[in-house]
Symmetry: C2
Subunit: 337 residues, 2 copies
């Protein structure tokens, strides 16, 4: 059983998931470290290989198609090597001065396409929207489980961004804790709200729309912008223009506007940076909380174009060689079809 353990000093929860390692001690030799991941000819996410994934928890299929078979456009399945286990009690307990609990959670994979080489950014717009809709569907389903406090949704695209399979997919982890980065945002935005009685993200959106120096693009409901203090070159955020605390409260019409802005932002990054590896993560409110006046969901996209970071890892302190005004201007002025 994996464990969730808490660092007692900074209150960071970590999953100790030894079952995932292929060997008792998961050591890569120097030679293995230098090599890219082996190119597997068999892909469990390809159409026709449905029986090689765990049983699907959600799928979108053409109207009239039966529930079995290959006639799907999107599937959500449990991760075959989950970092957390879905069955069991949390079992919160002390371990001397430390805290731990059982590694309970859901770990799912959103398979975004049947085709092995089709990338998320290149999907037809309606199918890109399906992916965003699937995130919403899964959050709504999983929030019924009261053991979970947070649903983390993210994508690792490309080997350099930590993807272990080529086939386009995103991941979902339902957690009995709130991840540290989100907990920090909740605390920071709550403090601001107590002081100003305004949502800090709403204030950011408002200042950015006024200044226009860090805006990449906008439509009626959403804005894509490079944040004021970005950790990474070309870091880009997508935020709702109007106050919304929970992603799963998006309407169809909002998701349609999110799709066009988000997908075009990926096109811009691909064009500007020559199809970089990237990560994105949905930052949304804990499912255990009702509508919050101070927190505002958003998506953070971080291309991986600089070489491996060194001290940033230990210090939480970043040196960024590209000003957000420069990257926003560059992305904005790209000619897109």
């Amino acid at each position: 059983m994996p464990e969730l353990r808490k660092d007692p000093i900074v209150s960071r929860w970590v999953i100790i998931s030894t079952e995932r390692a292929k060997r008792p001690i998961n050591i890569f030799s120097a030679a293995e470290r230098a090599m890219p991941e082996a190119d597997n000819s068999f892909c469990p996410f390809d159409a026709g290989n449905e029986t090689d994934t765990p049983h699907e928890v959600l799928s979108y299929r053409a109207e009239g198609a039966g529930p079995q078979g290959t006639n799907w456009t999107l599937r959500v399945v449990p991760n075959k090597f989950p970092a957390l286990m879905i069955e069991g009690e949390l079992g919160r307990r002390a371990d001397g001065i430390y805290d731990k609990m059982n590694g309970i959670g859901a770990h799912e994979v959103i398979i975004e396409t049947q085709k092995h080489n089709e990338q998320l950014a290149d999907l037809p717009e309606e199918r890109f929207q399906d992916v965003l809709w699937a995130y919403r569907d899964r959050i709504i389903d999983l929030k019924k489980d009261t053991r979970f406090r947070y649903i983390l949704i993210f994508k690792n695209h490309g080997l350099g961004a930590g993807a272990s399979l080529d086939h386009s997919h995103s991941q979902l982890i339902a957690l009995p804790i709130i991840p540290k980065s989100v907990a920090e945002e909740l605390l920071g935005s709550k403090n601001y709200y107590e002081y100003k009685e305004r949502c800090i993200y709403c204030d950011i959106v408002s200042q950015e729309i006024d200044e226009q120096t860090r805006v990449v693009s906008e439509n009626e409901d959403f804005i894509a912008m490079c944040p004021y203090a970005p950790r990474f070159p070309f870091e880009t955020w997508v935020l709702p223009k109007h106050h919304r605390s929970h992603y799963e409260d998006c309407t169809r019409s909002e998701l349609k506007n999110l799709t066009s802005l988000f997908q075009r932002t990926l096109h811009r990054l691909n064009k500007a940076l020559d199809y970089p590896p990237y990560n994105f993560m949905l930052h949304t409110s804990p499912v255990s909380m009702t509508t919050l006046p101070y927190y505002h969901w958003h998506i953070e996209i971080t291309p991986r174009i600089t070489r491996v970071a060194g001290f940033e890892r230990g210090s939480g302190f970043y040196i960024n060689p590209t000003a957000p005004e420069v990257s926003a201007q560059f992305l904005k002025e790209l000619g897109l079809p």
Copy 2:
């Protein structure tokens, strides 16, 4: 002039240092990203190339040797491409709802050896101790500058850990702010102290010595251990056994004991993990604060043996496939000469 900018939500300071980029937009093409750093035949840190570094701020030389020439064993020089500038005022100011200041700070390189291929772990013990002593010397000198709040000392070893030059060196950055990770540790340990009236690190050391399951080795003054909730496989911390808040208060005899434990810990990691890339960072109290009853300096060593992390970057949430009890046991039982 580089800028220090603050993320208004989570209070993270970032250096926007556009001068460091070789091109206005520091983009690596896909081909460049895949290639290791070019192997430069010329190394400015080699003996004989002293004039190719900025003027040294500290050096250790054989007794009787003149101040010039190649007769040194350790040199500290300003970074030729500093992320921060030493001259100027902080100029703290608002930028709408945001905060920024001038990118004032010191950025120095500790050249640990004359020899291009000699690694820190392989130095004779007295010379390893010199490196630790140089950290102390530089902190004591730089803390006289009241613009600085924190002296960050770290090492990136190997390309996979972000080192851009092969020649063995560590880095120092003097900052007018406290890095986020240290600020979090200060806050967490202060909260604990207010509640318990004990230092949390002292409590950790005490529990670890009792339990012995995560201890790698110890001597009179120091302990090397794998922390209870490690982010990375084989993450290892070195801590003073007795309460010490500031690294620069180390005595000669303490640094001697630190040397033997720290260097052997690097030997263990090298032997266990086949000479992995690694980072270490000294976590010590802000130079602007006097002796603290609640904070305890320590060194965090993080080998880079897993493939590039994905979502950890955005979530502050880590999945670690190796339990610290397993890595500590493995490191402890290695036969060292």
